[in-house]
């Protein structure tokens, strides 16, 4: 069992590394993500620059930017396989659960790269001071996990459909709404400098949301992947 689970982990990391390598050759997804995020950020910052807005609104703005940027790039992981016709090869060489977790890890990596650029820029451009950095980072990381965890299976679904681009956001939004609400709430608390203990309900909900979504994805992914 130990060797088998080791095998599973190394297979997952093989899929993850394959995707990262393919991504760094073209830099298609990461460019799309970051450029989209920076453009949105610029529009937001430019249009509300002259007005003083409440600090609480900043949390909502940050997550709206992250949500739409994620929508512009995260479906890439599966669409890419369909476009280059490598789906069958991947289907032959890896188990469904391995593919799903590998792609999930890749999507999380993409989002972390995105946030490394966008979040500092956001803080600078919006002139925002965070009251509690550890809660802020905790919510950001958990929100990222949930965002990727819920959208990876949607990406797999829409890769098989026509009109992929528009459909991804349409299908993802109703599913992501609870996550967005929790993440915005948690970020709001962090901006106001609440102690971590006060944000615990949000943190707990974010964790359970992610666990539930990833478990459901693992159970259902086979039906999508083998279609």
């Amino acid at each position: 069992m130990a060797t088998r689970s080791y095998g599973w982990v190394s297979e997952v990391s093989a899929v993850w590394r394959k995707d990262l390598r393919a991504e760094f050759r073209t830099k298609y997804a990461i460019n799309a993500l970051i450029m989209f995020a920076v453009t949105t950020l610029t529009v937001v910052s430019f249009s509300i620059g002259p007005y003083a807005i409440a600090r609480e609104v900043m949390a909502a703005l940050l997550w709206i930017i992250l949500f739409f940027s994620a929508m512009s790039g995260l479906s890439r992981a599966f669409i890419h396989e369909e476009e280059t016709r490598t789906v069958n090869a991947l289907r032959l060489s890896a188990r469904p659960s391995v593919v799903l977790v590998g792609k999930l890890a890749f999507n999380i990596s993409l989002l972390i790269m995105l946030e490394a650029v966008v979040v500092p820029l956001f803080l600078i451009l919006m002139n925002l001071h965070i009251g509690n950095y550890s809660l802020f980072l905790l919510v950001l990381v958990l929100g990222t996990m949930g965002l990727a965890g819920a959208t990876t299976i949607i990406a797999a679904i829409i890769a098989k459909a026509s009109s992929k681009g528009a459909l991804f956001a349409v299908l993802s939004f109703p599913i992501l709404l609870p996550l967005l609400v929790m993440a915005i709430n948690g970020t709001k608390l962090a901006i106001n400098g609440a102690p971590v203990a006060e944000g615990l309900p949000e943190v707990r909900m974010l964790i359970s949301y992610t666990v539930v979504m990833v478990t459901a994805s693992l159970m259902l992914f086979e039906f999508v992947w083998n279609e």
Partner: protein, 231 residues
Amino acid sequence: MFWQILLGLWMTLVIAGAFLYAPPAEGLGELSRIAFFHIPVAWVAVLAFLVSMINSVQYLRRRNLDNDLQAAISSELGLAFAILATITGSIFAKATWGSYWNWDPRETSIFVLLLIYGAYFALRSAIEGEERRASLSAVYSIVAFVTVPFLVFVAPRVYYSLHPDPLVNTRGSLDMDARMLQVFFASLLAFTGLYVWIYRLHLAIARLGLKVGATGQTATSGHSEAHTKEG
């Protein structure tokens, strides 16, 4: 035929009872009468979602396209009832709280239900091939269903609810007058019956469409034809 006539009479009684028999609620007055229609319609919208989800699970287990047909039909009905619930709720909101829409937790959840139904049909129309369409939309329907409990928990944390207490509330007591309860449960039964009737009618038509298609061509192309007729 017997059941349809019975349902028609029953519905007439419910409508008459809602306006003439049941007393107006304290505080809300005559406005409370909308509850006899609004709550059953909302209940059916959720029931249809549940039926659709169960059929989706059954489809993935048995790969029987009939389950997919049932899931799609139930979703269509659910969408219609969800729209009715949204409209009746919105009218009530305008009359009591002064605005048609203010993101009350219950308004949020019915709105998300509408979005899920919309996304479900957008997905269905974007996939070629009925087996692929069936399994992908089944997966989406299940994933969407899984998130609903989170929404129920999350939404009240953001906006305070002005919505009247649910019928069976946390105190475990029923706040309705006996006559109101009679009308309310009769209405619940009537609307559930209406749902079952339309559902079965729809299903019979879709199955007949399958059969008609199957005589001329292969069974699979007939199925897709029935689907396009379904819209």
